[in-house]
Symmetry: C2
Subunit: 208 residues, 2 copies
């Protein structure tokens, strides 16, 4: 038995809040942490590694897994399915490995229904509206209409901030990392996650 049960760390944010950078840094610092790999029915794109970026399956396979209740969360986007297979996550948690989920509020809601006790839900916010707009505009030379659509999509994502356990306003990257590190350390120190404590306390009181 692993000493501790792993964490399911959900990082959600509107695009432009800096989530990707924070996720990369967190993974680089933690050997016992990995990204969740989704299954999808869409075709692999150039540069994508099967099993690393996605597990690529047929629609029939995906629907069979759905019927078996084999997903922690899933969504259909246009004609393609995306979902998080439950088994690899359960195996990793039992081995004391933390898993990071890069999902939106809809995915986070489904994970909460499926596995509330293992979840650590963190919402990343941009420091201001001006900064959010600046970041969204800087991504490419888009039309005013496209940018307005993005701002509206961001607002929709942000509107779900209150469903998260922790909120980090990502103004200073180094301070945000300090906060995330503290959250991970604290969540690992939670009694319910320290699987070895039961036998340890037994020994402490009764004897050896």
């Amino acid at each position: 038995m692993s000493k501790r049960r792993g964490l399911m760390i959900v990082l959600s944010s509107p695009s432009g809040a800096g989530k990707t950078t924070l996720t990369r840094k967190l993974l680089a610092e933690n050997d016992d942490m990995q990204m969740s790999v989704s299954a999808t029915t869409r075709k692999p794109r150039t540069g994508e590694t099967p099993g690393k970026d996605y597990v690529f399956v047929s629609t029939a396979q995906f629907e069979e897994m759905l019927a078996d209740n084999a997903f922690l969360e899933y969504a259909k986007v246009f004609d393609n399915y995306y979902g998080t297979p439950a088994q690899p996550v359960q195996d990793a948690l039992a081995e004391g490995k933390d898993i990071i989920f890069d999902i939106d509020w809809q995915g986070a809601q489904q994970l909460t229904q499926a596995a509330a006790d293992d979840l650590v839900k963190i919402f990343i916010l941009p420091p201001s509206k001006v900064e959010l707009e600046r970041r969204l505009k800087s991504r490419a030379q888009d039309s005013a209409e496209t940018i307005a659509k993005r701002m509206s999509k961001s607002a929709g994502e942000i509107s779900h901030w209150a469903e998260y356990d922790y909120v980090i306003v990502n103004d200073d990257l180094s301070e945000s990392m300090d906060s995330i590190r503290a959250i991970v350390t604290a969540e690992r120190a939670k009694r319910k996650r320290q699987l070895w404590l039961g036998p340890f306390v037994n020994d402490l009181v009764q004897g050896r």
Copy 2:
């Protein structure tokens, strides 16, 4: 309005686990943290400062406060009452100050009933039974019977470890402090405690 709501930090442990040292260090590091001051009906002892060590009240006063439901928790030990007045705690929390409670499992249970949302319950364990016995024996030249009584009292306290949010095995003082610091930082980053976030998100989405 304060930016954040303060934490009610409960530190419980069997005697000999190192709680007093950890509490002192934590207080020394945090300006916005203070010890909870209990009210008691017992007489002040030499060296005790009223209002700092205890608030000393008469039995009639204490019982009037009890009738007014003015305590977060209380106990009667022999002929003396001890209790935590609710009002100073509520004021401190609203001002964004953290309060440390040095109480046993019975006090922690009552606080949980009275104020679960503000609580951060940490249990400190000694690293081994041998070490616990060594520390209890080293306190004074006591009879074997007295030491056996202390071990039994320790076992009683330890038996409530599972009622706490976090458990720290205090083997290395510096590592234990790192854990406690991370817990405090993480708990302060919890969404529900960051009172300023509601208006901030409103501005972020709607406008200014």
